[in-house]
Symmetry: C2
């Protein structure tokens, strides 16, 4: 049996747990640490395949939850799988739908069998089990598929406000980084019991996922470590998860409302518990500094909707920090978003003044151009992070990427689910 995924470690950092690696799937090869943009419904919002490719992204996400509900996993299989459906020739990953079932839907029933919820599209009753999630992902056909996990809200987000629904389509995309607070609040004791239950159930479900997987020679199943911000639970989840031999492991339940420091603390504790010779994937993270900290803790894979979600709203990422294009200061600005950037927006000669005009005039081209720039921003960051690992050049990385330097946030902790606050503050 040929392995559908190989992972080679090309270089290990002498000063941290970071490593440069190479993942090869049946759809190509790319270096790690890798940033994977999100194409929720088999389409990246406002960005064409050629435009994604222009950012050198070679691995993207689809959301199994969305595709299962619309157009349906069986329909995508009819079209030859999502690679063929959306005409994406490179590597692809699907999440299991567990996170979205919890964050986007009204849960009707949670049992050992699975989760019953109402479709966010038409309110119909859907039953999602480990077996059905894997069947759905087998039908969609991504190179990496994720285990179906039990995702209880974390303590910090059980009380967080719901950051969704701020623009067209964002509610859907946000679901992969923000967890709403629709669920009833639990007492601290009940919450702790719930977390233990979720960790153990996730492990039992992982075994069922592995058994249900029908395309192991084409698709690689990754397990997910849960446990919230509790180190004991993280250790228990890591032990239970890695006891099952899989081609890769993910850290889930992070970036669901915690601050940068808490994300970092959990990742630095959990990453070393995962096998060194398998790719480690930190789900849904995040900002540049969060990625850098996780890379140094030994994480290899990242996904986040920030580049496209913020791009559509006129927020651009630059090396020196975010730029809010609607601000009046850009009205007559002939400069590009980022002088050093080689994306089709910056290298194409589009000025900040023109981009601001597009947002003020409601032209969707603005969102497209800034999304492409933001995607390239993260891909350039990963290129430079890989160089820093190879050359142990962390200080020059921070010199060239001022946005990576630690900043003192004025008041509330930065969270990846609330984007406007730090952005408005910082420009």
């Amino acid at each position: 049996m040929t392995a559908p995924l190989t992972f080679e470690i090309l270089h290990e950092c002498s000063a941290s747990s970071a490593r440069v690696g190479r993942i090869t799937t049946l759809h190509g090869s790319f270096e790690t640490p890798v940033f994977m943009p999100v194409a929720t419904a088999a389409a990246m919002k406002g960005v064409s395949v050629a435009q994604i490719e222009s950012t050198s992204s070679r691995m993207i996400l689809n959301n199994a939850y969305h595709l299962m509900l619309r157009p349906g996993a069986e329909r995508i299989a009819h079209f030859g799988g999502s690679h063929e459906f959306m005409r994406w020739p490179h590597s692809m990953l699907t999440d299991s739908g567990g996170f979205q079932a919890w964050s986007m839907s009204d849960i009707v029933k949670l049992t050992e069998e699975g989760v019953q919820f109402r479709s966010f599209i038409d309110g119909s009753l859907i039953m999602l089990t480990p077996e059905r999630s894997i069947e759905v992902q087998n039908l969609i056909g991504a190179d990496i598929i994720m285990a179906f996990d039990d995702c209880p809200p974390s303590v910090s987000t059980a009380t967080a406000t719901d950051g969704e629904g701020d623009d067209d389509g964002a509610a859907e995309e946000n679901a992969s980084i923000a967890r709403p607070s629709k669920k009833p609040r639990l007492t601290p004791e009940a919450h702790a019991a719930r977390l233990i239950e979720a960790v153990d159930r996730t492990a039992r479900w992982l075994e069922r996922c592995k058994q249900a997987h029908r395309r192991p020679t084409e698709q690689s199943l990754f397990g997910i470590v849960q446990g919230g911000t509790n180190f004991e639970l993280r250790a228990r989840s890591a032990a239970l998860t890695t006891a099952i031999d899989l081609p890769g492991y993910a850290i889930g339940g992070v970036a669901v409302g915690e601050g940068t420091d808490e994300i970092r603390r959990v990742v630095e504790f959990t990453a070393p518990l995962l096998p060194k010779d398998r790719p480690r994937y930190l789900m849904g993270v995040g900002y540049e500094r969060d990625i850098l900290a996780a890379v140094r803790a030994g994480v290899d894979m990242f996904d986040c909707v920030l580049p496209t979600r913020n791009g559509r709203k006129g927020y651009a990422f630059t090396r020196s920090g975010p730029v809010r294009l609607r601000n009046a200061c850009h009205t007559a600005d002939r400069a590009p978003l980022d002088e050093t950037c080689d994306c089709i927006c910056c290298a194409g000669g589009y000025s900040r003044g023109y981009l601001r005009h597009l947002f003020m005039a409601g032209e969707s081209l603005g969102g497209t151009l800034v999304s492409v720039h933001n995607l390239r921003h993260f891909q350039r960051l990963m290129v430079d992070i890989r160089s820093a690992i190879r050359e142990n050049a962390w200080s020059s990385l921070e010199r060239e990427w001022p946005v990576l330097r630690p900043v003192e946030m004025p008041s509330a902790p930065t969270t990846t689910s609330v984007v406007e606050t730090p952005y408005d503050q910082r420009i």
Copy 2:
């Protein structure tokens, strides 16, 4: 003084007044008959410059009215003109703003001096005169600029319903093909008097436009023939307009609500009244059959928002007629929009089923892909029309483009300002 525009006739049809020509501006050269897509606010809705170029469009429109109000003509000049502002390296044309001032704004006052109206953006009072319109167009810097004309509603549209505002941004774009009915209805006698006044004033204003033009070595001013559907007035307007020596002439006041037959009648009467050695431009037309009829009457230039406006709504043009992608019949369809098409959507392997999914899921990529296909559809039509002129091969043209064949419309006449009716009927 170097002419900023040259027009060569390369081939004349033996069976009609059609001709193949070549227009050369300071930004390039292209063959006529030419179809010019519309980039209203210095951006084509949902379509990037690279995507426009992929359709082989080499001449586009900007709307001076929109740009004058936002971001302002002086601001565009600050950025080096619209070519530089929107990064369009090829040829460009601006309309004068007269049509939009009439169709999109509350006119406050019309005098011999000009038109005073309220901005559709913020309600501020704007005075537009021939001199100011030319100043605005000199600042924007297109290769061809249009005379500022007096545009009274035609008889047919003075009673037509307003087709605007049907989707985001469509109201602005529509203004170049549909005239609303906000103005008070006139008696037939008053309307006839108003049309004569408009024809004569348009001629006086044209003289003022020519005098005001400050960049005649870089930009070519075209005059516009008015006169509604009245042949006597059309003849009078053509005589007055062509008495002023200009590099090109346009037929205005067509495609503002008339049926195909009426458009054709007016164009066939008016086109021969324009000098044979100058480009003839039929403003705002239109559907494939309307273009074909006008080409045979000797028209060289066309613009229309249909490819992008319909594309955004999921209406695709094909050789055999329109396709409404939201229709359920496309759900499992693996076929491309048009088997014969070489656009990035059809040749890129996107299926009708995938495109339908994008529209059902609210993914803007659907509008982008179908807009690009539609633009390429019209450019391929122009390629084949130019071949038909060269080879006198009109019957094979109609064989390969069934959509060009005359059809009997069931009830009301087809109008270019009401797109849903024929589209819904024909699929």
